[in-house]
């Protein structure tokens, strides 16, 4: 039986695992390798790791130093992973992608570079095949109340409309699009299903919903009403209870199968 993918989306900062709220206040939650082992035991569908500093740079914001991609750390994660692994953060060249695939990463996630240099997506998908190239799009409502694409870890507005940008990226060869709502991030209040649906209906490639999942019903909502092909979540899989105690969890397989078996919508 085929069912949509449920993907823990884990954030890396200085080799530790963190979780943000609306892309801010990274809160340390533990060791990434330990998290991978737990997700192995629970047989998670896929894992996404995003280095939240890699494209933002460190140092004073007017003089950012680029943070190099933590290849050693990613290699350790990859060796441990028993499911497909995607990595995003600071990728700007095909050489870096080649190195990531060499250490066992299945898919790379490109965000800032996709907006600043769209031709890079064409180059990367021609070279590596589009099934291995995910473009992630960070979206927030701007002061005028309109959706806008942000880059550099949500710190820099681009003036781009997310739906048009998503279509452009699919045309350029992105094999999947990950739509991350900055406003919903870490709130556990549910996905921005309307935004997800608008984009999923506008493109033919699979869309991964991200940002806001707090309950298993939210996953169902993004699938049935948001037309997402996969649902990613962070807080939902690393926090437990109202006090947000750190506890890594993943929905039971039977629970997911029951949840998604009753819907007529197919991917």
């Amino acid at each position: 039986m085929f069912r949509p993918r449920i993907i823990p989306c884990l954030l890396l900062k200085e080799k530790g695992l963190v979780k943000t709220i609306q892309f801010k206040d990274p809160h340390y939650i533990g060791d990434p390798i330990n998290a991978v082992r737990i997700f192995n035991d629970k047989e998670a569908d896929e894992l996404i790791f995003l280095d939240i500093m890699a494209s933002r740079g460190s140092g004073f914001f007017r003089f950012p130093r680029p943070v190099p991609i933590a290849f050693d750390m990613i290699a350790k994660i990859s060796r441990e992973c028993m499911m497909p692994l995607s990595y995003g953060g600071g990728i700007t060249t095909t050489e870096e992608i080649k190195k990531l695939f060499g250490i066992g990463v299945e898919k790379v996630i490109i965000n800032t570079q996709a907006a600043e240099n769209p031709g890079f997506i064409r180059e990367a998908s021609d070279f590596f095949g589009n099934q291995s190239i995910i473009v992630s799009i960070d979206v927030r409502k701007n002061r005028k109340g309109k959706y806008e694409v942000f880059i550099r870890g949500g710190t820099k507005p681009t003036g781009k409309d997310p739906v048009q940008f998503a279509c452009d990226m699919a045309t350029m060869g992105a094999g999947e699009l990950m739509i991350n709502s900055i406003d919903q991030d870490g709130t556990m209040a549910g996905y921005d299903t309307g935004l997800i649906k608008t984009i999923a209906d506008a493109v033919s490639v699979p869309v991964i919903a991200c940002g806001g999942a707090g309950r298993i019903e939210d996953l169902y909502d993004a699938y049935v009403n948001g037309h997402a092909s996969a649902m990613a979540a962070g807080s939902m899989f690393v926090f437990h209870g109202r006090k947000r105690a750190v506890l890594i969890s993943y929905p039971d397989r039977r629970e997911l199968e029951t949840l998604f078996s009753e819907t007529a919508r197919t991917l």
Partner: protein, 196 residues
């Protein structure tokens, strides 16, 4: 060829000695051969030809009957040809590789077929020892094998319709999913292959 790293990682985890190679002599000396591949059909065949691996592969697989497992694109390369490209395949399995066709379906499905699905064993075979309908495997592909003698089909998968996802002809095996990233289910298949 994106999944070489994860195949090597998986064999390390299973304590199975493995080597990534592009040298004909390594292929001749191998006890088992994995033919991986992510990407396009023509590039895959081009790489095999360009690296001068075809004579060594032929000797090992066709003359010495060394077991070979084609994974994903590697499985499709075993066929005669593919709708994805112009280059001829290895032609070791008399079959074609075709694109998913959902034209006549009421509910069209997204292509690629990406995610977890079952491989339903169609016959008894050591490669599917211990595998049952409860096992799940990770798929990501837009093309699949078609027009194959059903006696060669060891396992099938359903995505819109049923297609061959595990094939075997003597010492030649092909699997459409990625056992190297399919948790314990995938490890079963790889261990079965190594034990042959």
């Amino acid at each position: 060829m994106g999944n070489l790293g994860s195949i090597r990682n998986t064999f390390q985890r299973l304590n199975i000695e493995s080597q990534i190679t592009s040298k004909p002599e390594d292929i001749i000396n191998a006890e088992k051969i994995i033919l991986p591949g992510v990407g396009a059909f023509d590039r895959g065949m081009h790489n095999i030809n360009e690296l001068g691996l075809l004579p060594a592969l032929r000797t090992s697989v066709l003359t010495n009957h060394v077991p070979i497992l084609g994974i994903c694109l590697g499985m499709q390369l075993l066929s005669n040809r593919s709708e994805e490209g112009q280059t001829n395949g290895l032609g070791w399995i008399d079959a074609e590789t075709i694109h998913f066709v959902f034209d006549s379906m009421d509910i069209p499905r997204k292509i690629p077929h990406m995610g977890w699905n079952s491989v339903n064993p169609e016959r008894e075979d050591p490669i599917v020892s211990g595998v049952n309908s409860d096992d799940r495997f990770y798929f990501v592909h837009s093309y699949h094998i078609s027009g194959i003698d059903e006696k060669l089909v060891t396992g099938t998968t359903e995505y819109g319709y049923t297609f061959p996802s595990l094939i075997r002809q003597d010492n030649i095996f092909g699997i459409q999913c990625h056992p190297e990233r399919s948790h314990r289910s995938g490890f079963k298949i790889l261990q079965n292959f190594i034990r042959l």
